[in-house]
């Protein structure tokens, strides 16, 4: 039919149940699945015993091309430490009016303290809300990100399994099975992703307790009571 053949092509499409597009956040399927490597709003992670991972080293602030991160570190109180180490980040602010979600901070972080969640649907109406402080960034006791009133977390269950973390260049636990392969850092609320195609070893358990078992830390006594 040539030129007029287009009429048939479009006519065959009408009334189909399965559409290429979905109704946004409604009905079956809800929101579209987020890509594994989507860069969303940051979270500050904690170890499973509740200790913060951030050590206040300011590498993230240094690497940030948009200058949107402000970090100040401070010495831990030996009696009641915030993080397992000498120092912790006592000020941590990200200005989302400037953040470009490049994920460089995540890659710079030596302790995997900062990762990006899959949340990108958040809008604020004033500058105060745009600057996330540590109180808003740190994950809750369940390990899940805090859900602020101007953020749309309606698909949390769907994205939780495929959340955040960062892509490693090297093996996280030093395992040769991971060398040159995509790997994912673990997260408190979401756990560690299953190995991807080509990865033979099981995903390493990166919880604080493993680290504790391998190296004698100064806080063993302080947390002995919490271990069961």
């Amino acid at each position: 039919m040539g030129y007029l053949g287009g009429f048939l092509v479009t006519f065959r499409q009408r009334g189909r149940k399965q559409r290429y597009t979905r109704e946004y956040a409604k009905g079956e399927g809800g929101k579209r699945d987020k890509p594994d490597r989507l860069h969303g709003r940051h979270v500050l992670n904690r170890y499973e015993d509740g200790m913060e991972k951030c050590i206040g080293c300011e590498l993230c602030a240094g690497v940030c091309p948009a200058n949107c991160i402000y970090v100040r570190g401070a010495d831990n109180d030996p009696a009641a430490p915030t993080s397992p180490g000498e120092r912790f980040g006592f000020v941590y602010e990200i200005n989302y009016l400037r953040c470009i979600h490049c994920d460089l901070c995540v890659e710079a972080c030596p302790t995997e303290a900062i990762t990006e969640s899959k949340l990108f649907e958040f809008s604020f109406t004033n500058r105060q809300d745009a600057i996330y402080t540590k109180a808003e960034l740190v994950v809750g006791d369940d390990g899940l990100p805090q859900r602020l009133p101007w953020e749309d977390w309606s698909d949390l269950d769907a994205v939780a399994a495929r959340s955040s973390a960062w892509v490693r260049a090297t093996a996280p636990g030093g395992s040769v099975d991971y060398e040159g392969k995509v790997g994912w850092s673990g997260e408190l609320g979401f756990g560690v992703k299953a190995p991807e195609l080509g990865q033979t070893a099981p995903a390493p358990d990166l919880s604080y307790h493993d680290v504790e078992a391998e190296a004698e830390g100064p806080f063993d006594d302080a947390h002995a009571g919490e271990d069961d």
């Binding site: 007029l4 287009g6 009429f7 009334g15 559409r19 290429y20 109704e23």
Partner: protein, 408 residues
């Protein structure tokens, strides 16, 4: 008398009559605005359906209030008049595109009882009247005139913007719309030719054109389909709808004549574009598909006028949208070729054929012979046309091949 041929105005024109006319005017305006709103939604929804998408779904049920939201947004935007524009014309142009569409719609019979020779007359408030705002004697000629005026809106908008893309768009618009005006007129002419009554007198009024098609003598087949096809193609080009939307041609001309418009004035253009589509669809229904005429299944006859008119109009508009979803934009030379080398010769030839049949019927010629002779003449003319085209192409090619300086 512009509103003549309506039984409402033939008698004493009192307060009630005045109020009826006023009421019809208000209702027509309301229908135009609401129909435009629904048309934009209809187009977006249907075109998504044809392209395996969902389309608007957030505002109201099935996204039906999407147009309202868009309109509100666009009205709240800054209304910009460019520094280099011709301010007065710049402000006039959107109105010039909108008004003709409203006027044309006022001349379309949108309802009425056309069964049993009623002629579309209904009885309301103690008066007989037609369910159309005006029924001027000049009828379709006024419609053609209005569609010509609409060209000025687009043309002046581009010209007055003081910017190059709008100007290019307005040049295209004037060339395209003037070209297809002729083909459009030839389509109408065929309808007028076959629509004459027993006394051999054709009427130009939209009402009598609809009456002449009752009950099943739709001009679609009475005129032999060809004028319908010509009219539809020319109407699509007149509306600047795909595949003839070279005037807008976003990829080349940004938005052409709309480029410099914003805010409320842009909204008017948008409204006019879709209202023109509805109006043109209504004209097609009136001229070729029997207007509001159709069988009365049950209940009062006037009610079915609306029903049939609405169904036919939706069918035509669906065809417009389907076309937009299906075919790519034509090249500019293809557009001009189609208009001048195909539609106009074909329209003229078909009109002569209809005239021949008509004269033959009056003079008592053998109808078969008449059609056969006409067909032979048409084929011969088509052959001559092809020959002329081929010759001119050959000469042009030879001139290109000739060495420098000897081109005569």
């Amino acid at each position: 008398m512009i509103v003549a041929a309506d039984p409402l105005l033939s008698g004493h024109v009192g307060l009630v009559v005045f109020l009826i006319v006023l009421g019809k005017a208000v209702v027509t305006l309301g229908i135009c605005l609401i129909a435009t709103m629904l048309m934009i939604w209809f187009e977006r929804k249907v075109i998504s359906d044809l392209q395996n998408r969902i389309g608007p779904n957030r505002a109201g049920p099935f996204g039906i209030l999407q147009t309202l939201a868009d309109g509100l947004k666009v009205i709240l935007k800054e209304d910009l008049v460019p520094e280099k524009s011709d301010r007065w014309v710049f402000r006039l142009a959107p109105i010039l595109t909108m008004i003709p569409a409203f006027i044309t719609f006022g001349m379309i019979p949108i309802g009425g009882d056309f069964t049993d020779g009623n002629g579309g007359v209904v009885h309301m408030f103690g008066h007989d009247t037609l369910l159309q705002l005006a029924n001027p004697d000049a009828g379709v000629l006024v419609i053609l005139a209005m569609s010509s005026i609409a060209v000025y809106g687009v043309m002046l908008a581009g010209w007055s913007s003081g910017s190059k893309y709008p100007l290019l768009g307005s040049v295209r618009a004037s060339a395209q719309m003037v070209s297809y005006e002729a083909a459009l007129g030839l389509g109408v002419l065929a309808v007028v030719l076959v629509g004459s009554n027993d006394a051999g007198i054709s009427s130009l009024t939209t009402n009598s054109i609809v009456s002449a098609q009752m009950p099943w003598g739709w001009n679609l087949w009475v005129t032999g389909l060809v004028p319908f096809v010509i009219f539809i193609l020319a109407a699509t080009a007149e509306l600047n709808r795909p595949p003839f939307d070279l005037v807008e041609a976003e990829q080349e001309l940004v938005g052409s004549f709309q480029t410099e418009y914003s805010g409320f004035r842009f909204a008017i253009f948008y409204l006019a574009e879709f209202l023109n589509a509805i109006t043109m669809g209504a004209i097609v229904v009136t001229l070729f598909l029997g207007g509001p005429g159709g069988p009365v299944l049950f209940g009062p006859g006037w009610m079915w006028g609306f029903v049939w008119f609405f169904l036919k109009l939706v069918a035509v508009l669906y065809a417009f949208v389907w076309t937009r979803a299906s075919v790519p934009r034509v090249r500019y030379d293809q557009l001009m070729d189609l208009g001048w080398k195909v539609l106009i010769p074909l329209g003229v030839g078909w009109m002569l054929l209809l005239v021949g049949i008509r004269v033959g019927a009056d003079a008592g010629w053998n109808p078969v012979v008449t059609v056969a002779v006409a067909a032979v003449v048409m084929v011969a003319c088509y052959g001559l046309l092809r020959l002329a085209g081929a010759t001119s192409r050959r000469l042009a090619a030879e001139a290109l091949d000739a060495p420098e300086g000897v081109i005569d």
